[in-house]
Structure formats: C-alpha cells, structure tokens
C-alpha cells in the first residue's frame, strides 16, 4: 500500500504540465522541438475560408495515421468549407466551431496542455491548431500499415473458426465483439509503460464475471511500473501469482473463439496492443488440457482425446525417468524376455542409463530449438540430420541403445500433444529433474519428485483460485464431470466452472434434453 502511494506520488511529481500558448507559431515550434525535429512529424500551416483572418495548422506523424482520412476528413473540409454564419468564431470559440461543423472524424477531443497534445500525436491523432487558441483539437485518425487477419499459427484446429488475432488491439477487440454481440461485453482500457504507453484492454462479461477477480486484475495492472510493454508476456510476469514456479498460471491464446469461450465462463481476458497473444485468467491446471476443438467435436471423441492428452502429459514428464529407474535399479520389474532384449541392446553402450538419457534429451532439445530458429528453407535438413544421423547412426555406432531412442522420441512426441505451448515447456524442464532424481534414487527418487511436484501444484493459485480445483479442493463428481476429464454434451453442461464465484453460475437456465430426444416428441 505504502509503496504504491509513493510510486503514484513520484509519477505526479514528474508530470509538470505546460499550458499551450495562444500563439500558433509558439505551439508548433514547441511540438516540433519536443519531437527533436523528427523527420516523420508533419506540420502543415495554411489559411482557410472557415476562418479567413487566422492561420491554422495540422500536425500528425506520417505512417501511423491513415493518410486517406487525414486528407478527406480533416484537410479537405478545413480548406474548402466555410463556417455557417451563426457560428462563433471569436477567440478560442473558433476551435469549437471547427469541431462541430467542419472536422468530420468520429472521435475528436480537445487538449489544453503540451503534454497531452504530444501524447495524442504519438498515439496517432491529428492535431488541429489555430492562431489565438490556447487548446488544440485531437482527431483520432489511427491507421497505417498492419497485418491482416490470418489463420492461427500455433493453435490450429480442424473444425472451428480459422482466424486469429493480429497486432492491432482495436482489430482484436472487434474480433471478439463480432462473436459476443452484447452490451454486456465490457472493455476497459489502460495505458501501461512510461515510454511505450501501450494500450492494455481488460475484457469481461458484465453480470457473469467473478467481481473479486476483476478487482484483483485491475489492482495488479495498476501496480505495474515499467518503461515499455512489447508483448503480453511482460504483463503476464507482473500479474501472475507466483514467479518461482515452472507452471504457468495465466493462459494465453491467439484465437478469438477461445477468448469468447473463457469470457462466457466468467473469466477475464487481457489484450495488449502490439501482439496477437491474449492473456486469460483465472485459470486452473486443467485449462491447459482443453483445446477449443474439444467443444466443436462430438463430446465422446473430445473426451477420449482429452484423456489421451493427460496420459501424454504424464508420459512426457515421467517416461525417461521411469526408463532410467527400471534399467538402472529395478531390472527385476521387467518381464524376463523384455529384460533380456534390453540388456542385449545396452551391452555395447559405454554410458550409464542416466548419462545416455541426458545425452539424447539434450540433443533433442538442441534439435528442436534449431528447427525453430532456422530459416524455413533449410528446415528439412534438420529432420534428416536429426532422424538419421543422430537416431539410427548413434544406435549403430553403439553410443546409445535403441530402446533409449524409442523412449526419447515417444517422450518428445507426447510433449507436442499439449494444446498449450507453455505447459509443454514446463514439462520439458520437469522431465530433466525427474531424470536426475531417477538416476540417483530410482523409484524412490521418482516418488519424491512427483510428490514434491504435486504439493507444489496444489499450493499454486491463479488470481486466488486454487490451481488444482475442482479436483483439490473440490469433490469427486466435480472433478470428473465439470469439464476436467469428461466433456459433457452441450445440453448437459449446465454450469459454468465451479471454481469461480460467479453471480450467474448457470450456462443453461433449465436442465432438459434437446427437443429431438425428449420422450414426448418421439413417435
């Protein structure tokens, strides 16, 4: 609290506001010099029929405004139109008259200080100045080059909408608005970053959202004090509940339909200008195993695939550790024939199981990173080098055993099953810890590290919501049916997630089967 207030006071102290002068030249010079004479700052002085006696000016930055709008809605009317006779044009009233009768841009503001004017120019507004006025008009004419909406790159689905967010926050908000056409969809804007002044939007559905969580989101956003925000990852690290954990406590997505679905569940989305990645909170561990496609496919298939995902996660963190533990300490666990074949493979291998596994896992991590960073054109080379040279040849050369190659490959593939990239990243690091513990203490080491991981998991929270709910805390029926392991058919998914304290917890107001399946309707 105390720290907060101090920071706020410091902020205020820094902001000494300069009022604008009544001289047009003084104002344009001041703005030009504050921008250091930057070459992309356009200052245009002119005279117009609207106010023949006075000189006018418009100022904007080339490239971040829409040139068309500036020309058609600001420049042209100003130069060609005249004010109606009844309009007041004396002194400072001139600007009001220009605003109401001439400048035909949707959102026009007025600022009286130099700092506000500068900020408006940086945000992509066009300033209209007039001789003898101590304020300026700011016409919002954002524009410029931007990427168009494309198909999702990282979170692809077979069935479902095929478009994703872009870098422009306005476009992104509109994409969500097009899905949820309701006045209950509220968007609150914040500016974060003392230098970048990045737009950060908080989206929620009024009447459904968990108010306590919303308040907490605002509190944490207000507390951020940083010079620049380039990506939502900056915001995520400031607002997450726990820094020193491998597990992500904020979900992210590039899909508008995912954002819409979590808003409908009563959660909050946080958009950051300049990135297509949107943050969502509060979430639980199980949110990372839900793909948007689960809800578009048939429920039985979706349930099956979801269970596969949990299994793949367990495999991807445990399998190498288990293999090391079994081959190093507990050979008696294996059926005899399997044991003999494994032993025969390992005969020529010079390393102990742990070293062999670490070697292969690190190699794989290097391959994977190389595949990501390499130019597209030489991508296939990686797979050839990786698969043939490091896989087959390493076995033939007797450096690693064939069994180990199978284990590492299967682990790697399991890791790619995760719908969320950051949970997959967590499992990669956990895997190494498990491998080390298994190499040192066998099954006991595995037991200890899994237990430690579970204790850590249940101690986590995401915006106050326990990370492992509705399993712990929660009840058995909740953890089975509330969208954790089983995706119920849509008509049976009556409630929103239980872990949130929602004002309106029901998705479906009354519980009933679809019309076609009700008895009375059947012939």
């Amino acid at each position: 609290m105390e720290r907060c207030r101090n920071a706020a006071m410091k902020k205020n102290a820094q902001k000494t506001l300069t009022p604008l002068s009544s001289s047009l030249k003084a104002n344009t010079d001041a703005i030009r010099s504050r921008f250091g004479g930057s070459f992309d700052l356009v200052v245009r002085l002119f005279r117009s029929d609207a106010a023949p006696s006075r000189e006018l000016a418009i100022i904007y930055i080339d490239g971040i405004v829409d040139a068309e709008t500036v020309n058609v809605s600001v420049m042209e009317p100003l130069m060609s139109m005249t004010l109606p006779p009844h309009a007041h044009t004396k002194g400072t009233k001139l600007l009001d008259a220009l605003r109401s009768c001439i400048v035909s841009v949707g959102s026009v503001g007025e600022s009286a200080t130099l700092e506000e004017a500068l900020q408006a120019v940086s945000d992509g507004s066009c300033l209209v100045l007039a001789e003898g006025c101590t304020s300026v008009l700011t016409a919002s004419v954002n524009g410029g080059e931007q990427r168009s909406v494309t198909i999702p790159q990282t979170q692809t689905v077979i069935r479902g909408p095929q478009y994703s967010f872009v870098e422009n926050i306005r476009t992104n908000i509109s994409l969500v608005r097009r899905i949820i056409r309701s006045s209950d969809l509220h968007v609150q804007m914040h500016k974060i970053g003392s230098q970048t002044h990045t737009d950060v939007a908080v989206l929620y559905l009024n009447g459904i959202v968990d108010e306590g969580v919303l308040k907490e989101v605002y509190r944490r956003l207000a507390d951020i004090d940083i010079d620049g925000v380039l990506e939502s990852g900056y915001i995520e690290e400031f607002i997450q509940d726990e820094t020193f954990t491998l597990f992500p406590t904020v979900l992210n997505t590039e899909r508008p339909d995912t954002v819409a679905s979590i808003l409908l569940e009563g959660r909050v989305a946080i958009m950051v200008d300049g990135t297509p990645i949107v943050l969502m909170a509060p979430i639980t561990f199980f949110s990372f195993f839900q793909s948007p496609e689960d809800y578009y496919q048939r429920f039985d298939i979706a349930t099956f695939i979801r269970v596969i995902r949990y299994a793949a996660f367990i495999v991807s963190i445990l399998l190498p550790g288990l293999y090391i533990a079994v081959t190093t300490y507990h050979q008696e666990m294996l059926p005899t024939t399997l044991l003999i074949s494994l032993a025969a493979q390992r005969e020529g291998v010079p390393f102990p199981g742990l070293v062999e596994a670490l070697l292969m896992e690190v190699t794989f991590e290097v391959l994977r990173e190389a595949g990501l960073r390499m130019p597209r054109a030489i991508g296939p080379a990686i797979s050839i080098v990786g698969a043939l040279v490091l896989g087959q040849s390493a076995v033939q050369a007797g450096i690693v055993s064939a069994g180990m190659v199978i284990v590492v490959s299967f682990t790697a593939i399991s890791n790619f099953v995760m719908p969320e990239f950051n949970m997959g990243a967590a499992s990669r690091i956990i895997r190494f810890i498990f491998m080390l513990m298994a190499g040192m203490f066998g099954f006991f080491g595995l037991f200890i590290s899994v237990l430690l991981m579970l204790v850590h998991l249940v101690s986590l929270r995401s915006f106050g919501v326990p990370y492992m709910s509705p399993m712990a805390p929660g009840s058995a029926s909740q953890s089975i049916f509330r969208d954790v392991f089983i995706r119920l058919p849509w008509w049976a998914m009556i409630f929103r997630p239980f872990e949130l304290k929602l004002r309106n917890p029901r998705r479906l107001p009354n519980r009933r089967k679809p019309a076609a399946q009700r008895h009375s309707d059947n012939p």
Binding site: L334, F447, I448, V455
Partner: protein, 362 residues
C-alpha cells in the same frame, strides 16, 4: 484461519488411518483370529473418537492446546499440550524411519538411509510450510491413487485365487483370551487411537455441524477396510508365514503371477506404503507445529523447520530396524494410551465438573 471442507476431512481421516497399517499384519498374537482382534479394537477406537468429538464440541473453535488449557488450567494445560507435541513429533519420526527402513529393504539396498530420510522429510517440511489447506489438498489428490491401487491389488489377489478361507479357521481356537490380549492395548493404540491427532484439525472444519457425522462415517468405513485387508492378507499367507515376514502385504502381492506379465507388483505396494507413510508423517508433523503455535502464540512459520530438524535428528536415535520395531510395537504401544485415553478422559471428566460450576455460578 485456514479452512478445510468436510470431504477433505473425511479423506484425511481415511488416508491417515490407512497410513502404514497394512504394512504390518497387526494382531498376530491372536494368530488366525487377528481380524477379530482388529474388529474389537476398531469398536473401541470408535468409542474413543466419540470422546474426542465430545471434547471438540465443547469448544468448536479450540485446538488441542486450547482444549488442554481450558480443562487443566493455563500452566498445566500448556505443559500437557507440549507433551502432546513431543509425542506427535516422535510418531512422525517413526514414520520417517519406516520410510528409511522400507526403502532399504524393498528398493535401494545400498543407498545410505540419511539421504532417503532427508528427502522424504524435506517433502513433508515443504508441505507443512505451505499450511493445512495445501496438506488437505494433496491428500485429496493422493486419495484416488490409493483407492485405485488397493482395489487393483485386491482384484488381482482374487483373480489369482490366492485367498483361502481355510487359513482363517478355526475361529477362536483358544477362546477370547489371546484375542483380547492382542486387541488391548496394542491395536487400539495403533492405528485406531491415533485419531486423537484430529483434535488439532477439527477446529479448521468449515461445516462445524457435520463434524461428528463425517468423522464417524469415515472412521467406520476405514476400520472395515482395515479389518478386511487384515483378513485378506491372513487368508493368503496364513498365520505361520505372516509371523516370519517383515512386510506381509508385500509378501502376499509377490505371490501374484498372472498371464506371464503381471508379476512384479511390489512397486504398487511400495508406492502405497510410501503414500500412507508420507501422509501420516506430515499429519503428525503438522499437528506438532500447529500445537506449538497454539501453545506459544508465536508465528507458525518459525516452527516448521526447527520441528523438522528435531524429527530428522531423532530418526537416527535407534541403532537398527529390530530396535525400531521393538520400540514401536512393544514399548510405544504401552505408553500412548496416556495420550489417547488418559488425557482425553481426564479432560472429559474435568469438563463435566466445570460445566456444573458454570451452571451454578450465575
């Protein structure tokens, strides 16, 4: 104050009472009638729980230390609570040592015991440092694993046709004498009387009204399960074999041989025992820390690591496993009725008089 739900309490009681109990074939003094001894002890255990619940109901928001102070006065009560703390730590230490011995026997024969005990105690200390809510949640998370594993083992034992009812016969060969001797006080003290530790936890229960019902239900259920497991192991191994093996359940499971594939299931048993021991160790450790906090009034976090260190150091006091077992099964079981029966009964009696006083004074 941290709060736990009634389902969490119920699961805590179940997993706590299972603990390491199936590890040993208890009540062997009654030979094939061990299960009858278990049943008798279970009934007495439930009666004891009635006393504990009654005590708790007098002051629903009071922990063990507070209850002691209420009934015995400030200084004497505080001392009694401290003695309880020592006992909890000691029992926690026994579980740490059990893990050490079990790992040496079943998994890692050459790894030094100190590192094994250090690791398991570290996990326990980490849990305790996170508090009661986290402990309740982790037990909740482990419960399905325990449940499914036991069901799996039981199923396989039956599929492999190992249990033979003959091994439980004849019933009461030597009359009631040996059975009673086996049941009292040994079986009452371990595992059933250990529910006294819940005097520390009950005050954290959210739904105060459900306290008695939840506790009795879960304890009755888990008692039935323990009796059943006792019968099952006895019917697989028989009294003679049970007596000579140190880990009867492990022995029984090793007999399972199905389809040339399901052969080495020891690892499931070991896992189950680790989970049970971990839960028990942590529950007692946490109880010691919570009671200390209540007695002294100092912050909770100051006691987590010191108590852990004391438990760790104490786990080296016994020279070997034989001594450990002797101390646990012969000496300790004779002393613990003090905590499980004598003190609670004293409190019950003292409380009755106090209530009369209170009724008379105004």
């Amino acid at each position: 104050m941290q709060r736990i739900g009634k389902s969490q309490l119920s699961i805590m009681i179940i997993v706590f009472l299972i603990g390491s109990t199936p590890l040993f074939e208890l009540g062997l003094k009654a030979r094939q009638d061990a299960w009858i001894a278990m049943a008798m002890a279970a009934v007495v255990g439930l009666l004891l729980t009635v006393i504990y619940v009654k005590l708790q109901k007098r002051a629903p928001e009071a922990g063990l230390a507070e209850l002691c102070r209420m009934h015995f006065g400030k200084w004497l009560g505080g001392t009694v609570a401290l003695v309880y703390t020592v006992w909890f730590s000691y029992e926690s230490m026994r579980n740490v040592r059990d893990v050490g011995e079990l790992t040496r026997m079943a998994l890692l024969t050459v790894t030094p015991k100190w590192i094994i005990m250090l690791l398991i105690l570290f996990v326990a200390a980490y849990t305790v440092s996170k508090g009661l809510e986290v402990f309740a949640r982790i037990v909740q998370l482990l419960f399905p694993i325990v449940l499914i594993s036991y069901l799996f083992i039981i199923l396989l034992l039956f599929i492999a046709k190992l249990p033979e009812i003959d091994r439980l016969l004849p019933i009461m060969e030597n009359g009631m004498g040996p059975i009673t001797k086996a049941a009292f006080p040994d079986l009452v003290s371990f595992p059933f009387g250990q529910t006294v530790v819940f005097l520390v936890y009950w005050k954290h229960l959210k739904e105060k009204r459900e306290l008695g019902k939840t506790t009795f239900k879960s304890q009755a259920g888990v008692s039935a399960f323990l009796i059943f497991m006792n019968m099952l192991v006895m019917s697989v191994l028989g009294p003679a074999l049970s007596e000579v093996t140190s880990l009867p359940l492990l022995q029984a499971v090793q007999l399972i041989r199905l389809a040339n594939f399901l052969e080495r299931l020891d690892v499931i048993v070991t896992l189950l025992l680790f989970i049970g021991l971990y839960v028990k160790m942590t529950a007692l450790y946490l109880a010691a820390v919570l009671t200390l906090k209540e007695v002294t009034g100092a912050a909770y976090r100051h006691f987590v690591w010191p108590v852990g260190l004391v438990v760790y150091a104490a786990s080296f006091l016994e020279p070997n496993n034989t001594y450990h077992l002797w101390l646990g099964l012969d000496v300790t079981l004779k002393i613990v009725p003090l905590f499980q029966i004598v003190f609670p009964l004293l409190m019950l009696v003292a409380g009755v008089r106090k209530r009369y006083k209170r009724a008379a004074s105004p």
